[in-house]
Amino acid sequence: MSWDYAALLPGAIVVSSLLPGVFIFLLDEESHVLRTVLNLFGAVAKLVLVGLLIYGVWLGQVFETRIAIAPGLTLVLNADALSVLFVTLSTVLWLVTTVYAIGYLEHSTNRSRFFGFFSLCVSATVGIALSGNLLTFVIFYEVLTLATYPLVAHRGTPEATRGAKIYLAYTLSGGLLLLVGAVWLRTLTGPVDFVEGGMLGDLSPDLHGQLVVIFALLLAGLGVKAALVPLHGWLPQSMVAPAPVSSLLHAVAVVKAGAFGIVRVVYDVYGVTLASQLGLLTVLGVLASFTIVYGSVLALTQDGLKKRLAYSTVSQVSYIALGTSLLGPVATVGGLVHLVHQGIMKITLFFCAGNYAETLGVAKVSQMDGIGRRMPLTTLAFTVGALGMIGLPPIAGFVSKWYLGLGGVEAGQHWVLVILASSTLLNAGYFLPILYRAWFRPLPAEWPNEHHFGTRFETMHALLWPPVITAVFCLLAGLLAAAPFSPLEWARLIAEREYGL
């Protein structure tokens, strides 16, 4: 291994949040300033490093960190276009979420523990993004589970520990299945490196039966985090977590890790052609479609705002899987770009939900009457996120939906349009009533638990600006979708490479 710049950078990106995380654990609880400095330093440093990475990848440089943990077992971190997409998403949203979390947990307890795990969580996510082989992916995938468990359980209430247990039960079981699948695959092929276009194409057809079983194992493992029905049960339960955690779980880290893994396995391990030959894409497509509709139907019935958002996540994340399951570059673009778009939209919504809860004590949809007039900026951000989720142009969600639909039609799978149409209507069914209440109903005489933070704005700065910024991202990702370096353009780049165009 050579320790030059290109070999260090991916590792450094992971370490840039890991080290601050470790130091934060060791900090005394009262060291607010130092902790905040460490948090922000980690987030900013990572952003800078990712900037360097993007620039390098754009120039065509190859970045790869390799650490041999044992003969034949190598930890590989490298940066291809797909990693860059996910890494950038996580890094940018992490910075925003860190600011939000610092504000959110202002007067809370156990902050050293929280921010320590918070940093670990992001390190693991970035590790997943940069994984260059299946082993590395599995390792970071499990670390992510471990790092998020304490975040879900953070509040320490009985519901929190229960939610965390359920989360753990699902994710660890899923992780094991993934592990078995990965090990099995390795016995067939040797080290499973992620290669654009897949690496199993040359395998003897005799092994195809085994490959199908292995895919089932991998998909089950990844499907848990990606919340594919029926493996989604943990997600609504883990809503007990503090808002920044929910945001992170649903927008960036956990569900995305699952979805990203599915993308990796389909494109860079199996290769779309083989996956399609083996009929695996059909299975994935059916599962994803069912999840999209089912999640939305359940979201309709929730009164808890975060629960409604959680089921919405169940539904929306499967857009990514749906895009992956359709053969053809256009659908791939749709799935991949939704990785980013769902992230920024959902994190906006969760930030807003957190703001309502922190500022006014509002946690239920039925309490949101007139809330737009008490918290207009937050509600505007929420509106942008919600309309984006429905897929209304020119917000980011439409871009994903368009490419998915077009990809479906190009692949000859016209039923995708039916799924997208039902999803749109269902999303409208559970988001528009919220917007209606927020903007059109009269205010209540009194809010459940109102706080004033001594600013001239509707809530404290650290809570207010993150959702506003991400909402602006949602708009920009849509309005400037065709501009260079937009998520869409990156997704196009990836799709071109995966299909060798």
């Binding site: 019935t301 007139g370 737009g372 007039r373 008490r374 207009p376 900026l377 309309l387 897929g391 209304l392 142009p393 020119p394 871009v399 939906k401 368009w402 639909g405 077009l406 479906g408 039609v409 190009e410 016209h414 349009l417 997208l420 149409a421 749109t424 209507l425 409208a428 528009l432 209606y436 903007w439 059109f440 009269p442 205010l443 004033h452 001239r456 704005f457 509707e458 849509g478 309005l479 400037l480 979708a481 065709a482 501009a483 260079p484 869409l488």
Partner: protein, 588 residues
Amino acid sequence: MSAWLLLLAWVWPLLLVWPASGVRFRQDWGASTLSPQRSAVPWVALGPLPALAAALLVPVGTELPLPWLFLGTHLALDATGQIYLGFTALVWLAAGVYAALGERGGPPEAPAARSGRFDALFLLAMAGNFWLIVGADLFSFYVGFAMMGIASYGLVVHDGSPSALWAGKVYLVMALLGEVALFAGLVMLASETGTTRPALDDVSALGNATIALLLLGLGVKAGLVPLHLWLPLAHPAAPVPASAVLSGTMIKVALLGWFRFLPVGDLALPGWGHWLALAGLATMTLALPVGLVQRDAKVILAYSSIAKMGFLMTALGLVLVEPALAPVGVAGIAFYAAQHGLAKGGLFLGVGLRKHAGAPGTTAQAAILGVMVLLALALAGAPFTSGAVAKYDLKPVLEATQWTWIGAVVAVTTVGTALLMARFVWVAASIKGHAEPHWAWPLAAWGLLAALVALFPFAFGKPAAWLSNALPVGIGAGVAATVALIAALQPRLFAPFIGLVPAGDLLALLTPLLRAVKEMGEVFLEDLGRAWSRVERAAFAAFERVFGTPAGDVERGLRQWPVAGALWVGISAVLLLLLLAAQAPGGS
């Protein structure tokens, strides 16, 4: 340079949203909640100005490619677009002036806040309307369409009354249905043509499913029977300026969409053309009689809009059957749409003015009613009005068809329209409003609009057209006069008919059905939930049974020496046997 007007046309109203809303994010939130004061500047009225300028100044054929915007935007102005932009901007302007300077917000509890919201949504819908007209690519069309459609919901429910909320709900559901159908249609169109800015020869190869989706998706907006259910509810429910633009401009964009995305003039689509023509005829036939028995002036106008759209759809259908008619047909339809848009916008605003501008019985009110009669005549297509001229332009289309009977049907509908307008004037005349101050500007804008309608035939029409249509309108006027006379003498004779069919006609039949389905769904979900929670409880109980009881010391028995010893000896014996067996001859 003037090309940038195409961009400014819709960006400008968007820029005005913020100041118009009057929202202040920095304030003392402890003491009060958001109660924006209406701005002194009539922002809403300023919104349509760049669009109007674009319609007047930008030459046809101007293009402004903006590939970085959205999914690749291409703004352009063609002849149809120019007509559309022109009349749309005019109607928005009149409505905007009315909204900014005349209309005073909803119910007393928060009038100011509500009007800030109204103004913002009004501008959003306006921007969407302009964007879809000046956008040559299908993304622009869809963005504008969606922006306009969703923002209009807020306009419809603005006054918060139960009927407005119900209308809004129906509107929203149908608009969304239309939008998803349009989305699917556009996706398929993009896939089949391979472009997002389809030229005429691109769309000639559309599949049937694509055409069906486009017809359905836009048909909702156009009020195509039976997709018109929302229209007679929503248009009257909205505040007057909103009604004016809903009926005057928004429903017309469906036709524009069809021009853009169907192979109009390139390919004969006899099947689809005939279907569309028939559907248009059906729409007219349904809308006119139902409209006649309505009580509310705005509802009557809404049904009239449906009927007019039916007429235009018939014309479009016939053009689809015979591509050669397209040059005449498309221009004719666009002109007709423009004429109707101006007249209908004027009529809706007139209703508002009848209610609020000046005390009943004043000269001003009489003048307003007089102008409304003029507009109604124009709408009915009376000689020397814009209606007659517009219809004259469509004559070749109607005559070219092999359906010779269509002339007769159209004549009958003309009679019907005349009757409907007569009914409208009757109702409008009996409006008893209450005076509110500050109506000069709205009146002026309205007067301008009416003047345009009045001058329309002389500006755009051939003299030959001025007298066309006289017969059916005359018959209609005659019948109307007769009926009016009878009604005046014996009011109870026609009373049973009035209100016979409620606004929203078929919806009244559908509502119980929908309610039943909804209840069924709720019961089903509830049952499902109950069943699931039973399973969950059972699983939880089982879990509790195992983990709730102390584990106890189950290994006590194992620790008994005889037991442990026997196991040890036994295991040793098995091991020995296995070792011996493996090595014994014959063993593996």
